[in-house]
Each structure stands twice: as structure tokens, then as C-alpha cells.
């Protein structure tokens, strides 16, 4: 259970959706404005790390299980690579979006593909940042148990 006060817990509960919404905004608008998959993924991961700090590591582990994180960590680079290989399959070079045969203008196709890649990067970076923090915090919890 959490050691922090009810004010911190309530504020966190209200803050986390807005953090995640801002992270998603940064990811989705990555192709047109500052930001992108990496920055947005880090912002979404920060909300989950805040949850882990306030509500404890075991509660956070139930929200983002290791299996889910493994799948997301693998899915991000996989989607990126598949989109890249798609350019080769239709006769271009790696990550050449323009010539992918979608029923749109070439620059619209390019923007759609860049958006998909940004989402993939966001998923991967988010899971990786959460895993990094969990690994550090888990060793700390382990050390605290040894002291007991």
C-alpha cells in the first residue's frame, strides 16, 4: 500500500490522464510539429513511473505486467522494420514511403507511414522506460527486504 498522503494520491489520480493525453498528442503530431515518438513515449512512461512511485511497485506491476511490456518492447521495433521493408517490397529502398501503393497522394502516404512509425517508436520507448525504472526500483525493494 502507499505510504504517501491522500492529497498526493488524489492529485496523482487526476494528473495521470492528462499526462498520458499530452504524451499521445506529442506522438500523434510528431510528423507536423515538434515532438515525436521518442518524446511522447517518454512522457507516457513518466506517468506510469509516477503511478509506481505513488501507489507502490507491486500495484504498478499489475498495471504494466512484464509480459505486456515484453510484447510492447518487441512490437515497436518490429512495426518499424515492417514499414521499412514495405518500401523494399514495392521496389524502393528501406523506409521509402512515397511509392507505397495507397490510394492517396504521395506526400499523404508518407505522412500516414511516418505517423505509424512514430506510434511504433512511442510504444517501444514507453515500455523500455517503464522497464528501466522497474528494474532499478525492484533492486531497491529487494535490498529493503534484506535489511528487514
Amino acid at each position: 500500500m502507499s505510504l504517501l498522503s491522500v492529497i498526493v494520491r488524489t492529485a496523482t489520480r487526476w494528473l495521470i490522464p492528462f499526462m498520458q493525453l499530452f504524451g499521445l498528442y506529442v506522438i500523434i503530431h510528431g510528423h507536423a510539429s515538434p515532438g515525436g515518438g521518442f518524446q511522447g513515449g517518454v512522457i507516457v512512461a513518466t506517468s506510469m513511473i509516477l503511478y509506481a512511485i505513488v501507489f507502490g511497485l507491486s500495484a504498478a506491476r499489475k498495471r504494466a505486467t512484464q509480459r505486456l511490456r515484453l510484447v510492447m518492447e518487441s512490437a515497436g521495433p518490429l512495426i518499424y522494420a515492417l514499414i521499412g521493408v514495405l518500401g523494399i517490397l514495392v521496389g524502393g529502398v528501406f523506409l521509402e514511403y512515397r511509392i507505397i501503393p495507397l490510394p492517396y497522394e504521395p506526400h499523404i502516404t508518407s505522412e500516414i507511414m511516418i505517423s505509424i512509425i512514430e506510434i511504433a517508436i512511442g510504444i517501444g520507448v514507453m515500455a523500455l522506460c517503464i522497464t528501466m525504472f522497474y528494474a532499478l526500483a525492484a533492486e531497491e525493494a529487494l535490498a529493503a527486504e534484506e535489511v528487514k
Binding site: 515525436g36 512522457i43 513518466t46 513511473i49 512511485i53 532499478l136 533492486e139 531497491e140
Partner: protein, 81 residues
Amino acid sequence: MIWTLDVALLLFLVVLAIGVVISKNLLAAAIIFSAYSLLMSIVWTQMNAPDVALTEAAVGAGVMTLLFVAAATRTRMVEEE
């Protein structure tokens, strides 16, 4: 008048960097480094690099500070003389 803001930001950056180096308390050093990253992101914005500024604010001030604090709690916080 914007150059005065730039000069003030850069001077304060130098002060914060020296503060990180000479700080004996690891937690204080991590927090000062977070402030350094926040100011650095403003400087990046002044240099017309909003993408880098967003990265600096998200990674430097957010996740790096958390990871530094998580790592520092596993050591003795204060360096002995």
C-alpha cells in the same frame, strides 16, 4: 532585450553546472541537474530547436532525474569527507 535573457540563462546554467559538480549530496545533485535540464530546454527553444527542447524537457528533466534518484537511493546519499 532578448539577449539579456539569453545571457542570464547561460550564466545561471554555468552556476547550476558548477553546483552539480561540487554538491556532496547525491539527491541534491540530481535535483540541481533537473533544474539544469529545464533551463537548457529554454535555451534550446531560444536557439530555434523546439524538438531538442522537448526531448531535453522530457528526458533530461523527467526520466533522467527519476533514474538518478532511484540509483542514488541504493547508495549512501552523502559523500564522506
